[in-house]
Symmetry: C2
Subunit: 355 residues, 2 copies
C-alpha cells in the first residue's frame, strides 16, 4: 500500500467531492473486445484459468489501462467465484455462459452450503488483488467486486443462465424461508469476501445486482436490496486511512434508486433505460451516480458517440458525483478504437461541468 | 358476426366503462402448460403447423376457455408471422426459440422486403380469426395481435433471439436511416395485418413490444413508440358497429407509460416491475391498464397467489379500467390448477372494487 494515488478522480466522484473532469471506466474494460486479451486467453486456456492465476489476472486487468486513459482499474474475476467456492462446480459452456454442476433447490441443500473462507478457497482472488494493486503503482484506484446475493442465487438455483427465472422465483414463492436462508448465507460470504479484497488492496467496491430488475418492487426490496443493505453495513468503509467507496448496481433498477440510496452506499449504477437527470432527482444528493451509456452506441459513428456522451453529461448536469460508464459491459464485437473515442469524448466534454 | 357478446367485461374495461368485476385473461393462456395443448401439438407436428392450420389454431385457442372462466380469447399465432411472410424463413430450434434463415442487415435488404398482403401470404391468420370467432359463439371477445415494429425488427436483424441486441442496435446506431425504413415498412405491414384481423372478426387488438424496454428513453420514443403510434392511427377503431379497443404493451416500459398513453391507444400493458398505483398515476385517466402479476407467482401456494391478486387489485384501486393479466406469458411448467386458483381469485376479490 506504499503508493499514493496519482489519479483519484474516481474515488472523489464516488464521494461527491470536486474533480476537474468526470472520471470514466468501462464495465468489462478488460475483455474480449481487446485483441491482446483474446491472445492471452488463447494461450492460458479457459476464462477461469485466467481468473485463478494472479499474474494473468493482473496482466488482463492492466491491458485496457495501457491503451486508454481510464480513471479506474477493476479486478479481473467472475461474479460466480463464491458459489464455486461453496462447491457447486462452476464451468462455462461455449455460447451458453456460466453453469453449475450442482443446483441448489431446497432448504437442506441451502443449509449444507459452507461459507467460503476468502483466505483459503478464494485466495486466488485476494492474491490477484494484491498483485494488481502492486503493479498499478498508484496510477488509478483498483475496484474490487462481487455479485449481489440475489444475483448469485439466480445462478445457483437455476444451475446456470435463464430466461424466465422460473426455478429461482419458484423457490422464492414456494419456499421463501429457504430463499432467505440462502440469501443471508450469501450476504455473510460476500461481506468476508469483499473485506478480504479491501485488505488485499482494493480501494473501492462494487456489487453487481445483474438480476434484481426481474423482481416486483416489493420482492426487490425483500429479496435483493435487503441483503445488499446488510453487506453495505458489514463492509470496511475506511482502510489504511482511506475511505473505500461502495457502489451498488441493479440493472433495470432505475425506478428504485431512491430506496437503494437509503442503504448507505456511496454511489449507484444506472443503466441506459433511465435518464441521469431523473436518477439524480430520485437520489436527491444522497449518492453519486455511475453510468449510463448504452454499450451499443459504440457501434455508431465517432460523431454519434460524442453526441451521446454530450447528452449524458448534460443530463447529469453541473458538479461532481458522476462516474461515467456504460450501462452494461462493453460488447465483445466493439472495435477498441471506438472505446478510445468514447473515453476521449468524456475527458474533453466533461470539463465544462466542473467549473 | 352474428353473435352478440355474452361477456363484454374485457371490452368495457379497456374502454374504462363500468363492469361488475375485473376481467381477466392470461398471456399465452393457450400453450404448453396445458396437457391438452401438448397432446394436440404432438399430433400436429411443429408450432407453426398449429398456427397455419385454422382449425387447429381455433381448437388451441379455445382449450383454456373450456377449463377456465376467462374473459377473453386471444388468437393463437406467432408474433413473427409478418417477417416470415416477407420471405425471411421463420423456423424454431428446440430450446433456442425462433430464428430466420435470412437476417436483414442493411438498407438494400430493407428496400427489397415486400409488404405482405394479409389476404395472401397471411391468409392462414385471417382464416384462423374467422374460424375462432365463429366457434366462440359470442362467449367472450377475441383479441387479435401483432408484434411491434421494433420487436419484429430485433428478430429480423439479429436473425433470431439475442441477449445483447448488438446487431439490431448496431444497425440502429450505425445506419439509423435504414432502421427507420425497416420500421416504417413494418408499421405499414402491421396496419394492413391488424385491420384484416378486425375484418375477419377480431374484436380487440394488442401490440406486443417485447423488446422496447432495452432502449434508452429517447431511442424508445424514436425507434419503437413512434411506429406504434403510426399503427394506432392507422387501425380501424370501429367495425361492424363496435369499438375495437387497442392495447400496447412494452415489456420494461413502466417508466414510459405517460408518453405511451399519448398515442391514442385504449389500454397499456404493464409488467410486474411497476406498481399499478404508480402506473395509474402516470397515465392519469388517459388509458386503461392491463396486468401485472409476475407469472412466477403461480409457482407459489394457493394462499400466496390470492395474496398477490389482492395486492394488485388494491394497487389499481377502485373503478373500471383494469384488465387483470400476468405481466408476461404463463410459464410452461406451471400446473394448470394454479391458473384456476389465480382466475378464481380475481373473480372473487375484484367485486369490491366495482361498487
Amino acid at each position: 500500500m506504499s503508493h499514493s494515488l496519482q489519479n483519484d478522480r474516481y474515488i472523489k466522484a464516488c464521494l461527491q467531492q470536486s474533480v476537474d473532469r468526470t472520471p470514466i471506466w468501462m464495465m468489462r474494460q478488460a475483455g474480449r473486445y481487446l485483441p491482446e486479451y483474446r491472445q492471452l486467453r488463447a494461450e492460458a486456456g479457459s476464462f477461469m484459468d485466467l481468473c485463478t492465476n494472479p499474474e494473468l489476472a493482473c496482466e488482463v486487468t492492466l491491458q485496457p489501462l495501457r491503451r486508454f486513459p481510464l480513471d479506474a482499474a477493476i479486478l479481473f474475476s467472475d461474479i460466480l467465484t463464491i458459489p464455486d467456492a461453496m462447491g457447486l462446480g462452476l464451468y462455462f459452456t461455449p455460447g451458453e455462459g456460466p453453469a453449475f454442476k450442482t443446483a441448489v433447490r431446497n432448504a437442506s441443500q441451502v443449509a449444507a452450503l459452507p461459507i467460503p473462507d476468502p483466505h483459503q478457497e478464494l485466495k486466488y482472488v485476494t492474491d490477484a488483488v494484491s498483485t494488481i494493486r502492486r503493479e498499478l503503482k498508484g496510477q488509478v484506484p483498483l475496484i474490487g467486486f462481487s455479485g449481489s446475493p440475489w444475483t448469485l442465487a439466480t445462478y445457483m438455483v437455476e444451475g446456470g443462465t435463464t430466461k424466465n427465472f422460473s426455478e429461482v422465483k419458484g423457490m422464492m414463492y414456494a419456499d421463501p424461508q429457504a430463499m432467505h436462508a440462502l440469501l443471508d448465507k450469501l450476504a455473510d460470504s460476500i461481506i468476508l469476501y469483499l473485506n478480504a479484497q479491501v485488505e488485499a488492496g482494493a480501494q473501492a467496491l462494487m456489487i453487481f445486482d445483474t438480476w434484481g430488475g426481474v423482481l416486483t418492487p416489493a420482492d426487490y426490496q425483500e429479496f435483493s436490496l435487503r441483503y445488499m443493505q446488510k453487506i453495505v453495513a458489514g463492509l470496511k468503509r475506511e482502510y489504511d486511512g482511506q475511505t473505500i467507496p461502495v457502489t451498488l448496481f441493479t440493472k433495470g433498477g432505475g425506478a428504485w434508486l431512491d430506496v437503494m440510496a437509503k442503504t448507505g452506499c456511496d454511489c449507484l449504477g444506472v443503466d441506459w433505460t433511465t435518464n441521469l437527470a431523473d436518477a439524480r432527482a430520485l437520489v436527491n444528493g444522497k449518492t453519486a451516480l455511475q453510468g449510463n451509456m448504452d454499450p451499443s452506441i459504440l457501434y455508431g459513428s465517432d460523431q454519434r458517440i460524442r453526441e451521446e456522451v454530450s447528452k449524458i453529461l448534460a443530463s447529469y448536469g453541473q458538479g461532481s458525483g458522476h462516474v461515467f460508464n456504460l450501462g452494461h459491459g462493453i460488447h465483445q464485437t466493439v472495435q477498441p478504437e471506438k472505446a478510445g473515442v468514447f473515453i476521449d469524448a468524456v475527458h474533453e466534454l466533461s470539463k465544462q461541468y466542473h467549473q
